[in-house]
Amino acid sequence: MILLTVDPISPDDLRKQLFDPAAGAYCGFEGWIRNQNDGQAVLRLEYEAYEPLALTEGEKILAEAQHKYPFSHAHCVHRTGSLEIGECAVWVGVSAPHRDEAFQACRYIIDQLKVRLPIWKKEHYVDGHSGWVNCERCAKSA
C-alpha cells in the first residue's frame, strides 16, 4: 500500500499495521528534512506530487519488490506540501519472515520511489531564494 498525505507521518502507528505472526523481521526507513543541501542552508521544503500516477507507479514498485524479495507486508507513505526541518518526508516499512528480505525489499522500495514517482521537491533557503532539487542540477550537467 502506498499513500500520499499532507499530514505528519507517524512511523509507530504505521509499523503496527505490518505485524504478522509469520514475520520474524521488520525494516523501516524514514527520510527526514535536513537543514542543508549542496552547501546551502535550507529553511523548509515543499513537495508536489501528481497523485494518480504516484500511486500506480508506487504499487508497481511494491509488486516488483514482493517478486524479488518475498515479504509479508510493505507500506509506504510520502508527504506532500510544506515540510519543516526534521520532519519525516517519506516512510517505508517492510515485514518479512527473515531479515534479508526485509532489508532488501525496504532498500529496493525507497531507491525506486526516489527515481520513479512523479514527486518534486523545492528547497527554500535561509537566504531567501528557492530551487527545485535535481532539476537545476540536471539542466546544468546536460
Binding site: A89, K114, V115, P118, I119, W120, W132, E136, A142
Partner: protein
C-alpha cells in the same frame, strides 16, 4: 494537426506560467509535443532527464500521440 492538452508540473509549470494548455500542433510522438512546448516557452531542459505520461499512463518519448490526448510533462523527479 492534432489538438493536444499539455499539463506541466513543478519546474515546468513555473517556467510556462500555467498548469495546462491546449495546443494545435504537428506531432507524432510525445517527443514532438515536448519540443513544441520547449520552443513555445523557451525551456532548455533536455528530455533525457524528464518523464512523460499520456492520458495518465507512463509513456516513452517515442510513444505516439493522437488527437485529443493529454500529455503530462514531468521534470526530473526527486521524491524522498
Amino acid at each position: 494537426m492534432k489538438t493536444i492538452t499539455v499539463r506541466y508540473f513543478a519546474m515546468f509549470r513555473e517556467h510556462a506560467g500555467l498548469d495546462e494548455e491546449t495546443l494545435t500542433i504537428e506531432a507524432n510522438t510525445a517527443a514532438d509535443v515536448f519540443s513544441a512546448t520547449r520552443e513555445r516557452h523557451g525551456s532548455a531542459e533536455p528530455s533525457g532527464h524528464c518523464k512523460v505520461a499520456i492520458n495518465d499512463v507512463m509513456a516513452d518519448w517515442g510513444s505516439p500521440v493522437s488527437d485529443g490526448d493529454t500529455v503530462l510533462l514531468f521534470p526530473p523527479v526527486a521524491g524522498g
